[in-house]
Symmetry: C2
Subunit: 122 residues, 2 copies
DNA sequence: ATTATTACTATACAAAAGGATACTAGTGTA
DNA sequence: TACACTAGTATCCTTTTGTATAGTAATAAT
């Protein structure tokens, strides 16, 4: 039986190893070619499998299925099956996933700034 | 000749495609197994190749060399060669890279919160 | 009976990322 | 002469990630 310690922001920030581990947690949740597009597609409304597929035109069903499973396992999306004919399955972001929006905004901001500052080096 | 348009935070945020692209810019800079550990290792002081290698015990010189090149190309680290014998090479984070610290803090914070909220689902 | 629909799965393959191990150049020391 | 040091490279191999293409189950409409 493992003892799992809950770590605080302060503790994690003070220790480089914990820091890297915790940041990696976040990174892993959104890593992979299609996670971000999928999250983006679900940011404003819940959607069905085929809707997402139409939304992200180049994704294959295999990848969409796999990435959605990953996201579900990581507590990022909720999957709901409706017993219609043919069945419909709805995917929606969890609250936690929605709160990732703020982080993504920060990344967006830094990305734009960084592009500026590296362009101006020429 | 390509016209390159500089995009604003507002513009990027309003357009899902631009949003995903810009966030991906940031993601790409820190993606790969060793980027974060390397950045972490350089956060507080400049270091030499062998120092970093000692710091991140499991990295091979091949990977360290490759990742440092990537980081340099992306404007994240500055490489300085000193003509000593044997030569010494120093790596340090650029200002832009240091400013990534804030983003990483956000990611750390979210990662910890998300872990809490998914644990409490059981 | 054939076709369409939704939400996938199966198989095979290609490409990218990463690891293991050995090696190099240039110089200094024992 | 032999060895050690720094900062890497070179070669080969394994693992992970992603792609292409075809197929499935359950049901309903034509």
């Amino acid at each position: 039986m493992e003892v799992e310690k809950t770590i605080s922001f302060k503790e994690a920030k003070a220790c480089p190893v914990q820091f890297v581990l915790a940041v990696n947690d976040t990174l892993n949740v959104i890593s992979g070619k299609w996670k971000l597009p999928i999250i983006g597609s679900l940011l404003f409304e819940k959607k069905r499998f085929s809707d997402i597929q139409r939304n992200i035109s180049k994704i294959t069903p295999r990848m969409l299925s796999k990435e959605l499973k990953d996201l579900e396992m990581n507590g990022m999306v909720k999957r709901t099956v409706y017993d219609t004919t043919p069945i419909t399955v709805e995917y929606e972001l969890t609250e936690s996933a929605k709160s990732l929006g703020d982080v993504l905004d920060k990344m967006l901001e830094w990305g734009l700034q960084h592009r500026q500052s590296t362009l101006s080096q020429n």
